[in-house]
């Protein structure tokens, strides 16, 4: 019937809107990245082709930032995924007292990231913060969270996790809710342990959702800025200077060509990550 074909036209407004709004700036960005353009010297704009890109690839600071970003992304996603999964499994049980807890667990998502990071910075402050006080009481000494390279990275993962575990939890929890209880009943009747049920029922059926949650989260952390900026500012030294922080510095000094080149490289890296993960997912189906 003609109706199925005509459904195609529903796509048009939304897709046109997105393509225009997204593609136009993207093309502009690509274009600018091929120029040397410093806002401070507006008359010295020169076409340099891939000059910005080669300079970035050769720049040890940029390479370091890619490494830092990858470490942070991997660490955060692993922590958030495992914690979200654990929480979701906890909530998968039919206890009534769990219902209202759900809303509570979701609350960190509503705090403006800048404020959350600022308060965490205060909590982690060695002299003024409340965490240091109790840790030293319990005999753990007074960790210099933000002055030590490793601790700073951990602190970042901690704060990001606080903010986003609710998201992971929600997605996996929703997935678990859809799994038919009969499957688990049958498994139990057959004598399977909880672990076996998890491995052979839960994991395969939820693989898609879990991978998608990881994907979205990974792509978002890769481009995360606010929390890192407030918490460590890229320090100590350059221990937490991610690609986006570098982008921010370069952009803030008016180097448009370079900043856009960084943006394009980020896009390529993220798209690659996205593509690989999606391929992996499609293959498991």
């Amino acid at each position: 019937m003609g109706s199925v074909q005509s459904r195609r036209w529903f796509l048009v407004p939304g897709v046109i809107f997105l393509l225009v709004i997204d593609m136009v700036p993207l093309v502009y960005s690509l274009g600018v990245s091929l120029y040397e353009w410093w806002l401070v010297r507006p008359r010295d704009v020169r076409f340099i082709g891939l000059g910005n890109y080669s300079a970035l690839v050769l720049d040890p600071a940029f390479r370091r930032s890619v490494l830092v970003t990858c470490i942070l992304t991997f660490g955060a996603v692993v922590v958030e995924f495992l914690a979200g999964l654990a929480l979701a499994l906890l909530f998968a049980q039919p206890f009534r007292f769990l219902r209202p807890m759900r809303a509570v667990i979701m609350m960190p998502l509503f705090v403006v990231p800048v404020v959350g990071a600022t308060m965490w910075r205060l909590i982690l402050h060695p002299e003024l913060g409340v965490l240091g006080y109790y840790l030293s009481l319990l005999g753990f000494g007074n960790p210099q969270w933000l002055s030590d390279p490793t601790l700073a990275m951990i602190a970042l993962i901690l704060v990001d996790a606080w903010r986003t575990i609710p998201f992971m939890f929600l997605v996996i929890h929703a997935g678990l809710e859809t799994l038919p209880a009969e499957l688990y009943e049958a498994a139990r009747v057959d004598g399977a342990s909880w672990l076996q049920a998890f491995r052979y029922i839960t994991v395969p059926l939820l693989a898609y959702i879990m991978l998608v949650a990881v994907l979205i989260r990974g792509m978002d952390i890769f481009r995360e800025f606010d929390i890192i900026f407030v918490l460590t500012g890229g320090g100590p030294g350059t221990a937490t200077e991610t690609i986006q922080l570098l982008n921010y510095r370069v952009f803030g000094l008016g180097h448009m060509g370079q900043a856009n080149a960084i943006g394009v490289i980020t896009l390529i890296l993220v798209a690659l990550m996205c593509y690989l993960l999606i391929r992996a997912v499609l293959r498991t189906r």
Binding site: V40, R41, E127, N142, L146, S147, G235, G254
Partner: protein
């Protein structure tokens, strides 16, 4: 039908007219958000009453302000007047209205000379000084008297005093400053290097950091870290203040504008116990100057009223009002000698004398378009030095290399 069209056209014309009229008398100001904004807003009604000009304040936090101004000015967007930090003036001068002619009509002699220099670039005057700031030494008078210590005048003396007062077990530290990735860190490093005679950019336009003088400054910096609070490597401008306010640090090198909250009893447990002095010297005394200025955008359609505003902001009446602004936090200082040496001002700002004294000796940062980039490079490298990523020699080399690269040498 025709009457209808006329009515519509008339309505459209009328709806545009008040707008155009209002625009002729409204200024768009790019301002620093926070306390300075509060002081300004409190005094704006006075300006409006005198001149009939309305000012729309577009405030942004310090970390974003340069970027916003750069973007706005270079793309011709509408800010008519800008509250601009002096290191940005050379970079932004391209887009600013030179004020030499108009400046002849106001009392420029009343300004502390160095603050006027803060607004000049390549022989032309681009901004007027509004809010001068300079690094000063803050110290605990009570602790010094207790130990019979005299106020240090050289960095070596300061180091000795800090060691004497440094007692980590009791959460007492010698001196507070910033040594990490905070924006202030390169300024402390620069101050120390200057004190021993080094220059960021020498007379030939090449980097001058990797010299004996520069090395001495950096070494002193590293020494001072040992008598600072352990978190000094993640300190910010505000943390330096808190260290003093909570009685944890015996001394601090801080911008004068940071001193006011130290005297506020609701925020500071050491109010009234503080002394203010000149920054110590190495081979010379070189406190860093940091003047907030007012600039006019070249492309503004409201040049005349913009000038009115600039005059007012850098003028006596606003200066007197702002220094006396009854807030326990920082005021907007004034760059006029007449205002700073006024007895009423001294009462409102206990550190007024130190401010004036230091300003007379203050040294400005290199007047280059590349300066913001240079400062950023120094920040990253100094931060890497204190984090242990680079050795001292490697850091000095890196600083020089980066500066030379930026200057195209």
């Amino acid at each position: 039908m025709l009457a209808g069209m006329m009515a519509v056209l008339a309505a459209m014309a009328l709806s545009f007219a008040p707008d155009a009229f209002a625009q002729a008398k409204t200024l768009n100001l790019s301002m620093l958000a926070g306390f300075k904004e509060d002081v300004l807003r409190a005094n704006l009604p006075d300006f409006e009453r005198r001149t009939g000009i309305k000012v729309a304040v577009d405030a942004a936090p310090l970390s974003e302000l340069y970027k916003k101004q750069l973007l706005s000015l270079s793309t011709g967007a509408r800010h008519d007047v800008l509250f601009m930090d002096e290191p940005w003036v050379p970079a932004l001068s391209e887009f600013l209205l030179p004020l030499d002619e108009r400046a002849r009509g106001i009392d420029m002699q009343d300004f502390i000379p160095t603050t006027v220099d803060a607004g000049a670039y390549q022989g032309r005057q681009y901004t007027l000084p509004v809010d001068p700031n300079v690094q000063i030494l803050v110290y605990r008078k009570d602790l010094f008297e207790q130990r019979g210590l005299k106020v240090p005048t050289t960095w070596e003396e300061l180091l000795q005093a800090a060691k004497a007062l440094h007692d980590p077990a009791k959460q007492q530290y010698g001196i507070a400053f910033t040594a990490g990735s905070d924006v202030q860190t390169p300024l402390y490093m620069t101050l120390l290097m200057w004190s021993y005679g080094a220059e960021l950019v020498d007379a030939r336009g090449r980097a001058g950091v990797n010299t004996d003088a520069g090395k001495k400054g950096a070494e002193m910096f590293l020494e001072l870290i040992k008598v600072a609070p352990p978190a000094v490597k993640s300190f910010t401008f505000a943390d330096v203040n808190k260290a003093i306010q909570l009685g944890q640090a015996a001394m601090a090198i801080q911008w004068a504008s940071g001193a006011k909250p130290m005297e506020d009893p609701t925020r500071s447990s050491v109010a009234g116990k503080l002394g203010y002095a000149l920054v110590p010297k190495g081979t010379r005394q070189a406190p860093m100057r940091g003047v907030w200025t007012v600039a006019i955008a070249k492309n503004s359609p409201n040049l005349e009223i913009a000038w009115e505003f600039a005059k007012w902001l850098s003028g006596r009446e606003f200066g007197l009002a702002s220094t006396r602004y009854p807030s326990a936090i920082s005021a907007i200082h004034c760059a006029r000698v007449s205002v700073l040496s006024d007895p009423g001002t001294k009462q409102a700002l206990p550190y007024a004398d130190a401010l004036l004294g230091n300003l007379k000796l203050a040294k400005g940062r290199p007047r280059l378009k590349e300066y913001p980039d240079i400062q950023e490079h120094m920040r990253v490298t100094a931060s890497r030095l204190t984090a242990g990523e680079l050795s001292l020699d490697a850091a000095l080399k890196e600083m020089d290399a980066g500066i030379n690269k930026l200057l195209g040498k």
